[in-house]
């Protein structure tokens, strides 16, 4: 009994930490620019293919080298995506609907590009670290520990950045009041571009950590996207604190569900949780009404 509980706690923590990472990207972009980025999952998958190319698929680089190449590349990708696709649409009166269409279209572009380039067979990426350790009678892979530590570090760094760095504070200002931020001299467009870049970096980091566990396949981004969506809605669109809470709560729910009734029930139970949350609190745990 104790052992099962410990197992659930460990796997819930590590799931929650990665979900945090992935969902924060979606939430940051929505918080600052009010764009719901349907391509987030596909960007994640594209980064996973990038990781595969750099490591097992060709160049055979180590984890740190992959990190050093992939993260800046993802940042650039996110910035260009905002600059070339999102920004031109913002001028339009119904830009919210149009950006949703455009990001969904872009998601399909990435999916099909990955399909054309890499084929339908799933790729495997070798884990960052091999081996297991034993914790109180429970066997935990080192990969799980590494994932947990790296994600927690990244989430903590992000919190520090948002609270202390000038650019991070500018992002929070924009997400609280776009017009006000522009009036006090914050370059709103630059903040948008930066938040898309940062969001892509977070997605890429999540991809690096998760692709050894889940396979890399052209449509593989939709399942994490859906999960991120449940987390972000649960926490409240645009709220960073809400995402932190929701990711860990749902991470533990998932770990418990997997351990008690089996993995196939994860998504149905998440949906029930989501529906219940939305019916009781239509704006999530800590969301603000978007306008």
């Amino acid at each position: 009994m104790m052992q099962t509980l410990l197992e659930i706690v460990i796997s819930g923590f590590s799931l929650g930490a990665v979900y945090c990472l992935f969902s924060l990207g979606l939430s940051l972009v929505y918080g600052t620019s009010r764009v719901l980025n349907f391509a987030h999952g596909s960007i994640y998958m594209t980064a996973a293919y990038g990781a595969w190319l750099l490591s097992d698929g060709g160049l055979g680089l180590g984890f740190v080298a992959v990190l050093a190449v992939l993260l800046p590349a993802s940042f650039l990708f996110g910035v260009l995506f905002e600059r070339l696709v999102i920004r031109p649409i913002r001028a339009h009166e119904h830009w919210k609907t149009v950006t949703m269409m455009a990001t969904l279209g872009f998601a399909f572009v990435l999916d099909n590009l990955n399909l054309v380039l890499f084929g339908p067979t799933a790729k495997t990426v070798s884990p960052i670290v091999d081996g297991n350790i034993e914790l109180g009678g429970v066997i935990v892979t080192n990969q799980t520990i590494a994932t947990l530590v790296i994600s927690l570090l990244a989430v903590a760094a992000l919190q520090v950045f948002l609270n202390l760095a000038p650019l991070g504070r500018a992002m929070r200002a924009v997400s609280q009041d776009m017009t006000g931020a522009a009036i006090v001299g914050i370059r709103v467009n630059r903040v948008f571009a930066f938040s898309f870049g940062l969001s892509a970096v977070l997605a890429a980091l999540a991809a690096l950590l998760l692709s050894p566990v889940y396979l890399v396949s052209p449509l593989g981004g939709w399942s994490p996207f859906l999960k991120a969506f449940v987390i972000v809605v649960f926490g409240g669109l645009g709220s960073t604190q809400g995402v932190l809470w929701a990711a860990f709560i749902l991470g533990f729910v998932e770990a418990a569900v997997i351990s008690m009734i089996g993995a196939t029930w994860t998504m149905p139970i998440w949906f029930i949780v989501l529906l219940a949350v939305l019916l009781v609190r239509p704006r999530g745990l800590m969301g603000k009404w978007g306008d």
């Binding site: 872009f106 399909f108 099909n112 590009l113 449940v230 019916l279």
Partner: protein, 322 residues
């Protein structure tokens, strides 16, 4: 205010186009071209219904293909598993899909903008799993249902190879749909109330527009029409699999609507014809076809955010409105 084009669209244009298409039928000759036109008509039904919910009522409904699939499956299952004549199965599929649409719309009423989009899209993403796991309910699992029986009306049997028959059947239903959606609902008082809600929500509310009830009604009607479109598709192709919920169809209807323009008749209908025919022309590009379609969505959003329908606005002087 962006709602000047409230008058009913031209009736003469509608009947002229209908007559021209009806007269065209026997002269098409090739079965392949007839097939493409039949697909155009079926997609017109689906996309016009989508336009009603997303373009006019302003509900970010991304469950359109899920509703389409529910219609197809309902009709196929009713006629195959329960032996109901296909004609009645199609109508009952409309009712089933209306109910499904009603159930999807209920939680949406409490949600705002993006939450609706995410919720409806998750319905779309969850449905294939349900269909694959639902073998014991008669969904046929991952292989789907093969040999959906043909529709029979007044002794005429509409099999897949009866192209000319299907041409007129699909044309009739498509024309009825366009007539109902664009000439009655969208230009009737509550359709207009919805354009007002979409464009200036606070102002419309202050004028006493009851959005909740009408939204529910519009969504349900849109779902019913979509279900009938899906049912027709199932009986025409005679095979229905969870693959209708795959990338391809979703992309197709999205391209149709975004190229055509939401809430701007006849944009969506033009979009359907251009994209259905264009999609066939792209067949030779093989696996690059879906990539190209995705690019078309993105580029249309950037360069033509109002779609082709927006071009008609400008000609009517709407672009000059304050």
């Amino acid at each position: 205010m962006a709602s000047l084009r409230m008058s009913q669209p031209s009736k003469t244009g509608f009947f002229a186009a209908l007559l021209a298409l009806a007269a065209l039928g026997p002269f098409v000759g090739s079965d392949y071209f007839l097939h493409i036109l039949i697909l155009c008509f079926i997609w017109t039904i689906v996309v016009a219904a989508w336009d009603l919910s997303i373009g006019y009522a302003g509900i970010f409904n991304f469950a359109q293909l899920a509703l389409f699939a529910i219609g197809s499956y309902a009709s196929a299952m009713l006629s195959m598993n329960l032996g109901i004549p296909a004609f009645w199965a199609v109508l009952m599929a409309g009712a089933v899909t209306a109910l499904a649409g009603f159930l999807v719309a209920l939680p949406c009423l409490r949600l705002k903008g993006e939450y609706v989009a995410l919720f409806t899209f998750s319905v779309h993403l969850a449905l294939p799993t349900l269909l694959e796991k639902g073998r014991s309910f008669g969904t046929g699992g991952a292989t789907g249902l093969l040999g959906v029986p043909p529709i029979e009306v007044l002794g005429v049997v509409f099999r897949t190879n009866n192209k000319l028959g299907w041409y007129y059947l699909a044309l009739c239903v498509a024309a009825l749909t366009v007539w109902l959606v664009y000439y009655h609902i969208a230009s009737a008082k509550w359709g207009r109330a919805f354009v007002a809600l979409r464009d200036a929500e606070g102002f419309a509310r202050s004028l006493g527009v009851d959005d909740q009830r009408t939204k529910l009604m519009l969504f349900t009607i849109s779902a019913a029409i979509t279900g009938i479109g899906g049912a027709l598709y199932a009986h025409y192709i005679a095979v229905i699999t969870p693959r209708v919920l795959g990338n391809e169809f979703f992309l197709l209807v999205m391209v149709m609507l975004s190229v055509g323009g939401m809430g701007r008749f006849p944009g969506a209908v033009l979009g359907v014809f251009i994209i259905t025919i264009g999609n066939e022309a792209l067949r030779e590009f093989g696996q690059y076809r879906l990539l190209i379609l995705g690019l078309v969505v993105v580029l249309a959003a950037i360069w033509l955010p109002r779609g082709l329908g927006g071009l008609f606005d400008r000609r009517a002087g709407k672009g000059a409105a304050p």
